[in-house]
Symmetry: C2
């Protein structure tokens, strides 16, 4: 009693008594056959339980698969709790949504991006890479497959579309604001510089050779204004790690009067750390974040931060991807503006 074989185009074709090509046309090119015949074919298909052309076979024949790949720097399991990433995906999705394309998520291993094998097996016509280390093997793998690619927050890759944000300038903006307020002693709190799970104080050498462009640029932006400052690296951009890191930075004597954070999430942790020490923000310590995720406005106190257009970033990436699918050439990078959003977590030093 083996299961009945799934019907195929041929099944339907011979049931109706036409050629396979005709059945295919019934689905894909209704103008190629008479309406009456088409009806008959569709009816027969329905009664045979044929659900339409198999997507894999179709993809093989047409050489495209109506899917946009998205490579994550981190495991899926941590991606969805990352507000900034979620918003970017949001924007990307809204574009992809409208075109009957699916989104194929390729989870990263640790923070190094997806494994090459994952990339090699993923079925997508175009790939969007988000915030991978400069030397991610996944980037090479996409290249090797010859898939068009758009990178977000990534360095120049030949023949690749790109959307980016002025992380360096944004960080400088924030640091300058604090400097203008009179701050001179800073603590810098950052997420990973390398995908090695390392945390702790950051050496100049580690900073200089960091493969995460975004991290590097933000830190350089801060330091350009402030001069050398103690930096604490968290393995991930999480509130908890930020809290612990900020505590370390605040334990220095003399205590820094301001904390420059590479993300809002870290800044939320920093706010907490300041409270933990019985101090107040911004009276005792000023805190700035980066990203301007929605929660920044609701934080206690509302967080001064650098706004980058996260949704727009995703949307643009999606549009570029779709355009590449249509055979367009990559073109120059799309650069989106950043701005400083001043709220209540910053003030003149006491």
């Amino acid at each position: 009693m083996d299961r009945p074989r799934k019907p195929t185009l041929d099944t339907v074709a011979s049931a109706v008594g036409v050629s396979r090509a005709t059945v295919s046309n019934a689905y894909n090119r209704p103008d190629q056959l008479s309406a009456a015949l088409r009806e008959r074919i569709l009816a027969a298909a329905a009664s045979l339980g044929y659900a339409g052309p198999d997507p894999v076979a179709r993809s093989l024949a047409t050489r495209h698969s109506a899917a946009v790949g998205f490579m994550l720097g981190q495991q899926l399991s941590t991606s969805f709790s990352d507000a900034a990433l979620s918003i970017v995906l949001d924007g990307l999705a809204s574009t992809v949504d409208g075109h009957d394309h699916c989104l194929v998520l390729m989870p990263g291993r640790d923070r190094g991006g997806p494994r090459p094998e994952t990339v090699a097996r993923a079925q997508a016509d175009v790939v969007v890479a988000y915030s991978l280390p400069d030397d991610a093997p996944a980037l090479v793998a996409v290249r090797a497959r010859g898939l068009p690619m758009v990178v977000i927050d990534q360095p120049v890759l030949p023949d690749t579309a790109r959307v980016e944000v002025d992380d360096f300038g944004g960080a400088r903006l924030a640091a300058t604001a604090l400097h203008d307020l009179g701050h001179r002693r800073f603590g810098v709190l950052t997420f990973a510089l390398r995908p090695d799970g390392h945390g702790g104080p950051v050496s100049a050498e580690r900073l200089a050779t960091a493969p995460f462009r975004v991290t590097r640029d933000r830190l350089h932006g801060y330091l350009e204004v402030t001069g050398p400052q103690p930096i604490w690296e968290c393995a991930r951009s999480s509130r908890e790690l930020g809290r612990a890191g900020a505590r370390e930075l605040l334990s220095a004597t003399p205590r820094p009067t301001a904390l420059l954070c590479a993300s809002d999430e870290l800044a939320f942790g920093a706010l907490q750390a300041v409270r933990d020490l019985g101090l107040r923000v911004p009276h005792d310590v000023s805190v700035v974040g980066f990203d301007d995720v929605p929660a920044a406005a609701y934080a206690d106190p509302p967080l001064t931060t650098v706004r980058q257009p996260l949704a727009e970033k995703g949307r643009r990436a999606g549009e570029l991807a779709l355009r590449l699918l249509d055979g367009a050439r990559p073109g120059g990078p799309t650069r989106l503006p950043v701005s400083l959003v001043s709220r209540d977590s910053t003030a003149t030093p006491a």
Copy 2:
């Protein structure tokens, strides 16, 4: 000057002077050829720029595609901002991660789930459906394709694995707690009962015929304890809509002393609405939520809510999906426990 054709298995085979089968084996069954030959083949492949077997062709030949499909009730663009959904996806992803499978997201149209065409074209071996309306066409489409499926929070479908939570019992738990505190006048705040974008007061008939099982069960759970109460429906589970809806419910005279919300997100809006009216939680109005997303603990005041194991839900679904892939039979539904988490948003009525 047309682009050089992409190399295929054959390209490599003839370059090395072996059969195509051997090259295939070099990639998929290293034990089928001598190590030396394998080396030669891989080297030749590398120098020809061959990135390994094409995933689509391989899928066609092997009849599976190393991908798990995930059908969303809502558009992708709103999914990522949904904390509960994110956590479920999280759990699912962590399972899928470990098996070199990709996650193919199928965005829903409005709230009715993905369109059948999207389902028909998606390349996945197994599909996970999350919180779709009972009559979603997407469910039929998956059936038609003969794909194994696991549903989360969905009614019984023949031949389908299922993971679910006792929404009815959970809601009853919360309502009972309030009732025991002495509350008798309630307002009930819910998200969509149907995917029609409707909002406003809910009639008994609309409640009875709601195609969203989860919504229905939670409301029935509340009402079983409290008896008939005014219900306000929000088109989506968002803080803003919750705030507006709660305001409506609170404008009744006599004013309800407690608000029963179908989700934490709505409850957050309700907290805000109470403040908007110059009242205090829980002194003037008690509020309970449902889900216990992380933010519930940080709310002001911390929210009393029904905890459901969201991550676990996703994880179980992932495991079931993977097991179905291995040819397992669906088996009975997996039921996860709920519990009441009492925090500071509930108290005896003034």
